[in-house]
Amino acid sequence: MTSIAERPREKTAPSPRAKRKSMKSMYPTWFYIPSAVLYIVLFAVPTFASFYFSLTRWTLFDSTFIGLDNFVTFFTEPMMFQSLINTFIYAFLTSGAKVVLGLALGVLLTGAILGRGYLRSTIFFPVLVSTIGVGVTFKVLMDPFDGLINKSLAAFGIDGPDWLTDPALAIYSIAIVDIWKGVGIATLIYIAGIVAIPQEYYEAAKVDGAGSWKNFWHITLPLVRPATATVVLLSLIGGLRSFELIWAMTRGGPGFSSDVIASVVYKQYQAGFYGLSTAGTVVLFLVVAAIIIPIQYLLTRRQVES
């Protein structure tokens, strides 16, 4: 506290940089303190503590330093490979579907159609509902025998699949629900992106005799690239660290067939392997970073070029 208070204030020792800074910010540095305290106590300290605890065998009561053993154990977990694959399937599937569907819905809902406001809110509505609530609801709907989905299919003479209890299908069933729930955000971002495209382009294209397909392909699509980048990044990060929906619907089951990294970590935590699960979160952090940083670089660079 005191060291912060006694630090020479920018006004008394002006340098060109400090001058620019003080001109830019209309609030005193003090205003940062409450949020800085919160950030340090609730975010920075736990983050760095977790790096340390990931190197220990930790029972909450005491911890023993064991070097990188937790990481070795984590990667030799029998179901680790499967859950890694599942994480990627889930993330890329939901992200891809949200881009395609979000763009399609975005184009549709910026056009002159009947009931546009109603449709916009309907599509956005699932975003507002609690993920756990959605998971529990769909678990009931997707019940192979008593669920509404299979009962409805049966009415048309279709023998519905075991959505959540077939090990080959479970992760895809959850992904479908995730897409249904998350596409509203993607649509919203695309609507904003499409609305921001200046009308002049379309007018000029009309003069040149372009149809609506050409309009979409040569004007809308290239110019919503910033929106695409946002949707891809957000949904990919969300997909890679996805947990609540999977936990509410299958708990990673049947067996381990819909486990993702986050659910493996959670199960280890539940079992009381606190050091091991902390190592798992560090791994998850690195995986997300390793995938997102290059993609972000790629997407933003192209944006600059265009």
């Binding site: 506290m1 003090w30 303190i33 959540l164 049947p254």
Partner: protein, 435 residues
């Protein structure tokens, strides 16, 4: 200039204090009027809450100067976590109800719990109960509730209609199942919607394992025995056999524990391998069917190895954070559990799932048929404790592995090998020798 800077410091400090005050307000408490209030934590599953409420009412009637506040929390792995977190942060209730055996050991009792060696009820405990609530340094828990068996609960009407007899060996069990299947009834009920129920083929077979190899549990703790080898592998093999023979109910993958109780009570299914604690569900939901439900141990391959696998009751504990008047009150409360008044609650409000683990409580004469079926095994010494009471090792993923074996996703050998790998983490976490 200076004053404004001071004011800013003050404001900032006030802000920090404002953030910290609600945290500090969490601690503290106590009363001045001579009465002591203690808190009692139980699990919110089944009839636990009703039992606890009845118990507190009876206790408060006997002790004017003590009031008990009831707190609840989930059972299962979620509850395990909460218990450990509360103990580690010193936020545990004054008295709490939790598992005995391996989960008790995982609480680090010597460091976290109050030893209860000098309490009057200690001498009443049966020989097998004492070790599962003790460490080398003393006894820490008092049993609450009765023992239960992990065995096959079956519908006696189905057996009578088809003229079947209680099987004592696996082959007889298999023959019964084929006859039941031919009659259009699901021979064996499995409910993988509640994953923990899938473990009974392995956990409930342990009595039979011990009959074939009396040292198995100790050797297992010392990393000398494995599930991939016989006799322990048999439990996994049996489960695989059941799936391949088509014994399961159609909706086994999504059915829940309550569905299983319904099926066996109404005769939609014949056998349900489960813990006999299910008797309280029958009592509540199917009181008229109670006498049509019986129980027998999971059969071993040879009839002479068939033993009833018994779970010892959960217990109540006092954390080290309970001190002074509260500690005395907490001890009085625990003493009450094993007094005539406490026993009455345990036998009337809580339907006993088996014999008691303390001589202070005795079973009433009019027990459900399920318990009468168990009694001969106790009388003839044909019972063995479940593995979790003989070894601290219990891998967290067994229920997922048994779901896979029971659903045909993984073979019995693979499942057993995977489970052997799974327990290594637990053994290392506990700091056991030889792992």
């Amino acid at each position: 200039m200076k004053s404004s800077s001071t004011r800013r410091v003050l404001l900032a400090s006030a802000g920090i204090v404002a953030l910290a005050v609600p945290l500090a307000a969490c601690s503290g408490g106590g009363s001045d009027d001579g009465t002591v209030e203690i808190s009692f934590l139980t699990q919110n599953t089944g009839t636990n809450v009703e039992v606890a409420e009845a118990l507190i009412e009876a206790f408060e009637a006997e002790h004017d100067d003590i009031t008990v506040r009831l707190e609840t929390q989930p059972a299962g792995t979620e509850g395990d976590n909460l218990i450990k977190t509360k103990l580690a942060t010193g936020e545990m209730e004054d008295v709490f109800y939790y598992n005995s055996g391996s989960l008790f050991q995982a609480m680090n009792p010597d460091q976290n719990l109050v030893p209860l060696d000098d309490e009057p009820w200690v001498d009443d405990l049966i020989d097998t109960m004492t070790p599962v609530v003790s460490t080398e340094n003393g006894i820490y828990g008092a049993p609450f509730g009765a023992t239960q068996a992990g065995a096959v609960v079956y519908n006696k009407k189905v057996y009578a209609d088809l003229g079947l007899e209680v099987p004592t060996s696996w082959d007889e069990f298999a023959a019964n199942n084929e006859a039941i299947k031919a009659a259009g009834i699901a021979p064996v009920i499995q409910t993988y919607g509640d994953t923990w129920t899938s473990q009974l083929f392995i956990l409930g077979d342990f009595g039979n394992v011990l009959a074939q190899d009396p040292d198995w549990a100790e050797e297992y703790t010392a990393a000398e025995r494995k599930y991939v080898d016989e006799p322990a592998l048999q439990g996994f093999t049996n489960q695989q056999t059941g799936f391949e023979a088509g014994w399961w109910n159609e909706d086994f993958a999504s059915a829940l524990y309550d569905d299983g109780a319904r099926m066996v009570a109404t005769g939609e299914g014949a056998h349900y391998p489960i813990l006999t604690g299910i008797v309280s569900t029958f009592q509540q939901n199917y009181p008229d069917e109670l006498e049509n439900i019986g129980v027998f141990p999971l059969p071993a391959q040879n009839a002479e190895d068939t033993k009833l696998t018994v779970w010892l009751p959960n217990a109540v504990y006092i954390p080290k954070t309970t001190e002074g008047d509260k500690l005395e009150a907490a001890k009085t409360f625990i003493e009450f559990l094993n007094s005539p008044g406490g026993c009455e609650i345990q036998t009337t409000v809580m339907v006993p799932s088996g014999p008691f683990a303390t001589s202070a409580c005795t079973l009433p004469d009019d027990v459900p048929g399920l318990l009468k079926d168990m009694q001969p095994y106790f009388d003839e010494g044909n019972t063995n404790p479940a593995l979790e009471f003989l070894s601290p090792i219990k891998g967290p993923n067994l229920e997922n592995i048994t779901v896979e074996v029971g659903s045909g996703i993984r073979s019995a050998e693979d499942g057993a090998a995977l489970y052997d790998e799974d327990v290594v983490k637990q053994a290392q976490q506990l700091g056991l020798e030889g792992w």
